[in-house]
């Protein structure tokens, strides 16, 4: 019976090809547009590290200007980064299960082979806990040891891409690399890793590639590394040396901690308060006590990682989908009404209302599914276009299975919704009256 219904549906669709094409196009375009924008929104607002997002916390402490808050629009907020000195001391206290202080920098790599010219590579200067905290996958080796952090050893972890460029993708653990006149030893190569959003550093951009290499935070002093990310200052200080710079009140170091459980949060803030209490005795931290930690999703909210534009597009494109559905309903209704005589004839020959209804619904489902599949193709194209427009890293803007499933569900549901009323109307035709007018 089902295959008979499908056959009838196809036949009926063929009889009115323009109407059918319009309906399929309406659903396809509606699904295509709304799935494209929904996917972008979904990527931006997704949880980048679902297993741990409630135990990873960004740490803020209010070391800012006694006269005015860090952010006039949000006076309750402490600066979103720490001073170098505070980060270094918190790292030494190690009050969480794991912790890292970090910033973005860049180094000149001097390849040993004679042909390749020196080039600049982005670097994340961080403690070794970074890799374990953020579940970073490795292909070769791993993060460096605690001793490397303590002794400020020149060790480096590379991304897969950079390892490809420098060592042809081979296992480079133990190999040497010259940067800033210093010989670094490779200890690990990470695998493809694209947390989306790049939750650990929304300050310098939530949607960009992961840095090309990682080196110990403790090298900051010896190599006089400066941040290429943002830094903010309030205090007028006479800074004429690197030493003075890293001891200044400028905030430019990001700090993350991992706690055993989400409930340990207030205890951790108490640790911060105790630390600040000590610093107050030294004449620092003149503002009221205002230390705070934010879990990953709160941190994304704080930095408004989901662009307002993405929300606007989702809203408008779902209204678009409504228009497409209204079109489909209107078209179906017109079409069914136009087939009154045929249906009356079938009814007169003994087809029950249920049979007629079923057949109409199958026809609508076929239209909905066809439109949905074409819509998915349109969404793939749309996402390619958006990736191109926004110069997103390749592979960042893509359809995942959740979205494919959603698209199919939405198209079938909307096809059904659009078809229910017309099908019901058709079933209520009185066959006798209709046949008489013939």
């Amino acid at each position: 019976m089902f295959s008979y219904n499908v056959k009838l549906a196809v036949k009926s669709m063929r009889r009115n090809p323009i109407m059918t094409a319009l309906m399929v196009a309406a659903i396809a375009v509606g699904i295509g547009v709304s799935m494209t924008t929904l996917t972008v929104h979904h990527l931006m607002s997704g949880d980048p590290i679902p297993r741990k997002s409630d135990v990873l916390f960004a740490v803020t402490m209010d070391s800012w200007d006694p006269l005015r808050p860090f952010d006039d629009d949000h006076p309750e907020r402490a600066p979103h980064q720490l001073t170098y000195g505070d980060a270094e001391r918190l790292l030494a206290i190690a009050a969480g299960k794991r912790q890292t202080a970090m910033f973005e920098s860049s180094l000149i790599i001097e390849p040993s082979g004679g042909d390749e010219l020196p080039f600049e590579a982005g670097a994340r200067v961080t403690a070794n806990d970074f890799f374990a905290m953020f579940d970073v996958p490795f292909i070769y080796g791993g993060g460096w040891d605690d001793s490397a952090d303590e002794a400020a050893e020149a060790v480096v972890v590379l991304t897969k891409e950079l390892n490809e460029r420098l060592f042809g993708g081979r296992d480079s653990v133990g190999k040497r690399l010259t940067m800033q006149d210093t010989r670094f030893q490779v200890v690990g190569v990470i695998d493809e890793w694209e947390p989306t959003p790049r939750f650990y550093d929304p300050i310098n951009g939530g949607f960009q590639e992961v840095n090309e290499l990682f080196i110990p935070f403790s090298l900051t002093r010896s190599l006089e590394l400066i941040s290429t990310g943002s830094d903010w200052g309030w205090k007028v200080e006479d800074i004429t040396s690197f030493e003075q710079w890293i001891n200044s009140e400028a905030v430019w170091v990001q700090y993350f901690t991992e706690l055993e459980s989400p409930g340990d949060r207030s205890e951790y803030v108490a640790h911060l308060d105790a630390y600040v209490e000590e610093q107050k005795k030294l004449g620092r931290f003149e503002r009221p006590m205002n230390n705070n930690v934010y879990d990953v999703m709160e941190w994304m909210d704080y930095h408004e990682v989901v662009a307002n534009d993405a929300g606007v597009l989702v809203g408008l494109s779902f209204l678009f989908l409504v228009v497409c559905l209204l079109s489909t309903v209107a078209l179906l209704l017109t079409k069914f009404v136009g087939r009154k005589s045929e249906i009356s004839l079938r009814r007169a020959l003994g087809a029950s209302r249920r049979v007629i209804f079923k057949q109409q619904i199958v026809e609508v489902a076929v239209i909905g599914l066809t439109g949905g599949l074409i819509g998915l193709l349109l969404a793939v194209l749309g996402l390619k276009g958006i990736g191109y427009l926004y110069e997103a890293p390749p592979g960042l803007v893509r359809l995942d299975w959740v979205m494919v499933g959603t698209a199919i569900a939405v198209s079938i549901t909307s096809g059904m919704l659009a078809g229910l009323y017309p099908a019901w109307r058709v079933c209520r035709i009185a066959p006798a009256a209709e046949l008489k007018t013939q």
Partner: protein, 402 residues
Amino acid sequence: MGFRPMVSALMRNKTGAILVALQVAVTLAIVINALFIIVKRVEKMNRDPGIDVENVIITYVRGFGADFDVVDSITNDIDLIKSIPGVVAATVSNHVPLSGSGSGTGLRVVADETVDAVGTARYRWSEEGLDALGAKLSRGRNFYPEEVDYILPESNPPAPPSILVTQELADDLFGDDDALGKTVYWGSMEPSTIVGIIGHMHGSWVNWDKLGNVVVQPGKPAYTTNKYIIRVETGLRDELIPIIEQKLGESNRRRVVKSVRSLEDMAARSYRRDRGMAIILTVVISLLIGLTALVIVGLSSFHVTQRTKQIGTRRALGARRIDIVRQFMLENWLITTAGAALGIVLTIAVAYWLEISFELPRLDWRYLPAGIVGLWILSALAVVVPAQRAASVPPAVATRSI
């Protein structure tokens, strides 16, 4: 022919008419709001930056190794760049306007730190800086060469005696008073005197509401990464980019030429969100308008076919072709207008929602009448062909049985 037959015809297919009216209403709400956003973004992108963006090339270089002398390197680089035929002016700068990366500071008209400072972008460049950007001084003077020194990262130079500000920053600081020759104070409470006023110029961050606030100090920043601003003769830019890259690369192997790009590229990158939004919305409303028009064409064609007999009867009873056309056009107009009325309410609701949830600017009411007129035209165009077809139904059809 009056409204009555039309209305009764519509009443017979009430649901169909209501559906089309609803579709028209939602279409109107989307199109008007999207169009408003597009126009705002295009206006933003087309603001005058006060810079000769088309003819400026930006170069980033970075030296390495213990024996690298940054001052020497910058001096040689600038000399080399200026020796290339077609280059008009060049300077080293701490930051590049419109690039998204910059330095900000606060200025005050009194030396009192409890007074809130006026925020502004801050640049440091040589006496050739204005020329290298193609920015124009409206009053006062440029820096003298003897005021411009190299500034090393570890040095903390005192505030310069002479600075330039944009007119917008001057207005923010001094209101209606003339700013030229006045003293302003930095965060350190050191004073500087405004010696020149730049008529208009954009700073680094295109999304900042004080984009036009710029203060310039004289200096040649000799930091880790050296940024060169180079202006070339009109039309030579794309030809000179590879030449500059090659010559700089060959001249010093202890220095990485990070990038040589046009300022136009960099500015486009800064505006890419706005451009992306405008393009996406344009595609969306084009699809929407196309779809709505096709649906109206499709439905009215179908109705014409359905009502062949009725039209034939009317024609046989003496209705002219024009009467039939008019009937269909009017019917369509009635539906569209009913939809538009509902659409206005919906448009305002959507605009309000966008304003509250996404901090978009308030919808300009003039878009409403414009949208409705556009809708009338569109729906009239969509129905004109089916109406013509209806009019060509011969009266004889009425007498034939099906």
